[in-house]
């Protein structure tokens, strides 16, 4: 029972903190602070993955998201001198339109969730951790395997790395020149 208490408490604490930091990400006027808040949201998500039993994903989340993507975003902030600028507050129209869209999406989706039941389609449990099973499925060439998407993703990453270098390397030709 104590186990259950701790797990439930962790869920509610993580959920509250994640939502709080997410609101801070979209409302903070200093963009560098928003990056730090985003880092916290992603770390909370790693906690969610642990609670859901996906330890390998939690590790990947920390390594790639917190360690890589956020650092890249901070670099982007520095290179475009956005850190020195204070973003002006969004106008009332823009703010209320954003609130309306976000609130409508939330209400509709949660209403749909409340109406539908999610029965377990395939019962069963993973024997001892998911890392070995994920590795097998990623490189499996059979009908259940994911080796083709895995290769496609690796090509995507390679091409985006080359494209990033080409785009950011030199000044683009000026208009009319």
């Amino acid at each position: 029972m104590l186990n259950q208490v701790v797990t439930n408490l962790l869920f509610y604490v993580f959920a509250g903190l994640a939502v709080f930091f997410a609101i801070a990400v979209v409302c903070s006027r200093r963009i560098l602070r928003a990056a730090v808040y985003l880092m916290s949201v992603l770390a909370m998500s790693a906690g969610f993955y642990v609670l859901l039993g996906a330890e390998f994903l939690a590790g990947v989340q920390i390594l790639v998201y917190v360690g890589g993507i956020v650092v890249l975003l901070v670099f982007a902030v520095m290179l475009t001198r956005s850190a020195e600028l204070l973003e002006d507050k969004p106008s009332l129209v823009r703010k209320s339109l954003g609130l309306l869209a976000a609130g409508a999406f939330f209400a509709m989706t949660v209403g749909l969730f409340g109406l539908s039941a999610f029965p377990a389609l395939r019962e069963g449990a993973l024997a001892g951790g998911d890392t070995a099973e994920i590795g097998r499925r990623l490189l499996d060439r059979g009908a259940q395997g994911y080796v083709l998407p895995f290769e496609v993703i690796s090509f995507l990453l390679l091409s985006v790395a080359i494209g990033g270098i080409v785009l950011a390397r030199k000044l683009l030709p000026k208009e009319g020149a």
């Binding site: 979209v26 985003l38 975003l73």
Partner: protein
């Protein structure tokens, strides 16, 4: 008090509500931010909530399989690619126009 906490285990509905809330906050950010990098951060929030949804359904609908987790790994990889491309575009734009304010990116209007 401990018993009441122990009896309130989060089910699939609670998990989905948290993930939807994060996605809605991302929508709000995309619609209200003016700095392009801020918009990219809000998009990251939404992508992260999508990956979280995959893992939630993996856990509650097909507990014996790992397909949802593999999809989450693919989402993380695509998010990394997206940030690299976005950053390169913003740096190139900043070099040419000295700003990344999306309300001033109107060269296709004139």
């Amino acid at each position: 008090m401990f018993e009441s906490i122990a009896n309130h285990s989060p089910g699939i509905f609670q998990w989905l509500v948290v993930s939807t809330l994060l996605f809605s906050i991302g929508i709000y950010g995309v619609l209200t931010r003016r700095n392009a990098i801020g918009i990219l951060m809000a998009v990251e929030l939404m992508l992260n909530s999508g990956a979280l949804n995959f893992v939630i359904f993996d856990r509650y609908v097909a507990p014996g399989a790992v397909d949802g987790r593999i999809m989450a790994i693919f989402i993380i990889a695509v998010a990394a690619a997206e940030v690299v491309a976005g950053m390169a575009i913003f740096v190139a734009l900043f070099k040419q126009r000295r700003t990344v304010d999306v309300t001033r990116m109107d060269m296709m209007k004139h």
